[in-house]
């Protein structure tokens, strides 16, 4: 695997959407390529930032209770 191939698969690697053979190929490339490893760690960091920024909202307790009563 070369850097362009790795770059093309990186999103799916971060999203855990590659098959086991592809995962192994990407892992081997990352272990030997600091640039791609940096890029991978950045993408992982970015995905985590988006998740943590957006998933801190929870349904208000009063709304949860209202729904519980409506649905019971």
């Amino acid at each position: 695997m070369n850097c362009p191939d790795c770059k093309e698969k990186l999103d799916r690697y971060v999203d855990r959407e590659l098959n086991s053979t592809e995962v192994l190929e990407v892992q081997l490339h990352l272990e030997g390529c600091p640039d791609c490893m940096d890029s991978y760690e950045f993408q992982t960091h970015l995905k985590r930032l988006i998740k943590h920024s957006c998933d801190c909202d929870t349904a208000p307790a009063a709304f949860r209770e209202k729904l519980r009563q409506i649905l019971s």
Partner: protein, 193 residues
């Protein structure tokens, strides 16, 4: 038999309510309004209860509920016109590469300095068709397959929308980083704080 039928609605409702936060977050990001989000979620739950017979036990209830909620969103707020805004013209934008070009090293430090509210704003600026893919895959951790089933589109469509959405998100975050002084685009240096 009669006993299991009488218990079914309560059991179904209880299980459905374990996914309330996911639905509420999704509705909040789609409507960008807490009151509209609550109305949307409440209607989604009522519809889910009405059509619970169509839910197959053992399948992904969170995905099923999210699908009901987002379909109601499109029906109520967008008149079912899903192809409202395209992101086809975003072009390739890789934040990591851009930060390297600007000399902002280490690149990950830039992410640590970004305010969560600005990240949320960048997500909410995405067209709804692209926003919902980011919500499912990046925020709620859906697989491409589950996201595709939830949205009623092929996996390839999920991947292409996700790709374009991420390009736009990274572009927005870079612009925010420059405007807020996290990155000095012209000086090619990170400011000391």
């Amino acid at each position: 038999m009669a006993e299991s039928q009488s218990q079914a609605p309560t059991t179904f409702a209880e299980e459905a309510l374990t996914h309330l936060d996911t639905l509420y977050r999704g509705a909040l990001r789609l409507t960008r309004d807490p009151d509209q989000a609550q109305d949307l979620v409440q209607e989604a739950y009522l519809r889910a209860l009405r059509y619970q017979h169509s839910y197959q036990t053992g399948t992904n209830m969170k995905a099923w509920l999210f699908a009901i909620m987002r379909n109601l969103f499109w029906d109520r707020f967008k008149g079912s016109r899903k192809e409202d805004v395209s992101l086809d013209d975003v072009g390739e934008f890789v934040l990591y590469d851009k930060l390297r070009d600007e000399g902002a090293k280490p690149e990950a430090d830039v992410l640590d300095k970004m305010a969560a509210s600005e990240v949320v704003a960048a997500v909410e600026e995405l067209p709804p068709l692209h926003r919902e893919v980011v919500l499912l895959v990046d925020v709620e951790g859906f697989s491409y397959k589950d996201a595709a089933e939830t949205l009623g589109v092929p996996i390839g469509t999920v991947m292409s929308r996700l790709h374009r959405a991420r390009q736009q998100l990274q572009k927005s975050l870079f612009e925010y980083a420059v405007e807020s002084g996290i990155v000095r685009a012209s000086n090619k240096e990170m400011p000391t704080q």
